[in-house]
Symmetry: C2
Subunit: 425 residues, 2 copies
């Protein structure tokens, strides 16, 4: 029944019933943290063998490199071969690094600020202003990097097929201070959409006023399917090459949600010119990444088929959790027209929009009842959701039973905040 | 017999004998790389157990943290407790990170450039000029960081007891653009000296014009003793606190030469104010370090006594190599007054000074005969040894037999270059 079309009497009656339910939940003194897209212990157990797959004397890479010793700034060859298909790149266009792809992105932006990037005449930081386009809702940690490093963020609407490319094309064509754009192109964080081929092509072809513009293509969920029919994402590295802009894109991914969230491998890809340049910079920062962990990953997964098989196992754990959230939302909120939510084919999040102006209230109410959600606004630059409506739901970590209760609580909070709004309170 | 006091006839005769030896070595077509301070395979074997010490189900830290998952930006508590004694700090003043202490230093300088440090009013990079003092001979990778990041380097004389503190005190007192100094305070790279208590105290007490000045105290060889009576280094963190300058020093070390050079742990220490600030910055760059590798180190070494016992084993491998180099030098060069070399009580290097103007020639001659040494000049800022005399010898990697031959070759090259010089050729 649609809340909007009901009279105040009905709403007030609903309200008291909702408060009753809310107080009951509160009395249970729950403590559920759903703020981050963390894998659950059962998912981590899938890669248990990674801890023990190397023997004491298994430390040599194929080319004879002692993985225990210094060196190898771009990672061992077999690790690059194992992971390059995730980004659709040639192993020569790939660097495999430590446990954090966020660090790869952060370091690259810092380097661009202090040193510059190929094609630029000055370090970004020596130019009057640096701006990034931020398709939103998006990933809060991307925005936090810009915020910390003094990069001005411009919010771009994220639609069903990707960022609003009319906006993007217009802005990058006219403003030389726009140096980059953040993208999570597949099973986007948090909306779950995948960029269309047309969007990828427009990215590859668009004219940018800044010669040192870069796309930060964080393909974090490249192989993280939930549906039988996975989404398809066009290869942007090839598209950029074909469009004559081979240096335009930096691609990133990691095994954080394939092997271990805190002890996996990060990977980046780019044109050989970019990669050669990055390697020359990285060698000033470090003598090389942890190659033993790279060797473990090679031994454990063997090849890309091994990774795909692992992702199927992840899906059998994750899919019921996503289904649980969607069912609870449908049951509690379906037909009431007070919330919309995504039904993603992969990735780690469900994105929910409340009525305008309700998200902060919902998150606060849920927190009071023991359910910690990602802060309202976190999915927008500067933590500022202009509509105060977007909430990111991270179903992966809690056990199914807890998840059901948490989603009931969230649904009650949404209804409470909506009724308040409709009653003008 | 002193070369300097011989007449040309003697020298010319020696020269032909030396060339003969040199050509014989060259005919052997050796390939010996002594350019870096790399542990040898036998040293790495000492930590073999690190690869297998975790079982599949051994991933929980004492506080219940799942080391496989995200989080813990300063490292797990037991790893901080294990490694804090290396830097003489309290575990609360310590961050344990990934496999590279060089990256900790580089990242900290980059952050100071882009964001600033506590006590400063502007990021270093927004100030007109940034300079670092570089006691030399010193560590080439420190100098490479400054060079890459556009930081002007000022060479400071490194003496038997540490940097020339008269020079240091005068410069930091008068020049606000001097923001830092590089120090390898114990078993210094490459000269092997350890800073005296007086030098540490003068560092702690000196007046700096820049309020955001920092000492980069790279205590890479803190526990890397070769002699029965190890050198003593005064605790600079405490000295700075006592002098009322608690924020002045950043300390660094790693287990690269304790466990695995490429897959160890890095560690930094500083005042709690500095550490809190750094953690707030790091969390923007990464969600956390590889905690599984930290747990392995805790399981393998158990405690600081375990680390000290491990270092005794390293010394039994390294000491004969250092002795081999020293013996060969004594035999080939002793009494000739054409070279001086250090006899360190620990660390990874022997530093050799040729007659002025001979180092480049020696390194080139040795390379032609198949022995790759660290580039001449590398131990000075901008690769520029003003006397062209310093050569860094890294005895750790080659097997004893090869090392002997390599040192004979180097000694012959030194004699050749010296005779050439004395003959005015």
């Amino acid at each position: 029944m649609e809340y909007q079309t009901q009279d105040d009497g009905f709403l007030i009656k609903s309200q008291s019933g909702l408060w009753e339910r809310y107080e009951k939940f509160k009395a249970e003194k729950l403590k559920l943290d759903m703020s981050r897209g963390k894998p659950c212990p059962e998912q981590l157990d899938l890669a248990k063998g990674l801890i023990t797959c190397l023997g004491e004397d298994d430390f040599l890479a194929n080319d004879g490199t002692d993985c225990r010793n210094y060196g190898g700034v771009d990672g061992i060859k077999e690790a690059r071969e194992l992971l390059a298909p995730i980004l659709g790149a040639d192993p020569r266009e790939v660097i495999v690094s430590g446990n954090s792809s966020l660090a790869l992105m952060y370091d690259l932006i810092v380097r661009a600020l202090v040193i510059g990037v190929p094609g630029g005449s000055l370090p970004w930081g020596k130019q009057p202003k640096v701006k990034f386009l931020c398709p939103s809702p998006g990933y809060d940690r991307h925005f936090a990097i810009c915020n910390r490093l003094g990069i001005e963020m411009i919010t771009i609407e994220l639609e069903e097929t990707g960022p609003n490319m009319d906006q993007v094309e217009r802005l990058v064509a006219e403003d030389e201070s726009i140096k980059g754009i953040w993208c999570v192109p597949k099973y986007s964080n948090p909306t779950g959409i995948t960029f269309s081929d047309e969007v990828v092509d427009r990215f590859a072809k668009m004219k940018t006023k800044a010669p040192d513009f870069r796309i930060f293509w964080d393909n974090a969920y490249a192989v993280h399917h939930l549906a039988e029919q996975p989404d398809h994402l066009k290869n942007i590295l090839n598209a950029c090459k074909e469009a004559g802009n081979p240096e335009r894109v930096f691609l990133f991914s990691s095994t954080s949600k394939i092997s271990f969230a805190g002890a996996g491998l990060s990977i980046m890809a780019a044109s050989e010119i970019n990669i050669d340049w990055i390697k020359k910079q990285i060698i000033i920062q470090t003598i090389g990444p942890d190659k033993l962990n790279q060797l473990s990953h090679v031994r454990f997964f063997r090849d890309f088929a091994g990774i795909e098989a692992q992702m199927k196992k992840h899906a059998t754990i994750l899919k019921p959790k996503f289904d649980q959230v969607l069912e609870t939302f449908e049951l509690e909120l379906g037909g009431k027209k007070i919330a919309e939510w995504t039904k993603p084919n992969g990735g780690y999040f469900i994105s929910l929009n409340t009525l305008d102006g309700c998200a902060k209230k919902v998150v606060a109410l849920a927190a009071e009842a023991g359910v910690v959600l990602t802060s309202a606004g976190a999915t927008y630059p500067y933590g500022n959701d202009p509509f105060d409506r977007n909430i990111r739901i991270a179903p992966s970590f809690p056990p199914l039973g807890e998840l059901k209760k948490a989603m009931e609580i969230v649904a009650v909070c949404i209804q409470l905040a909506s009724v308040d709004k409709l009653l003008g309170e």
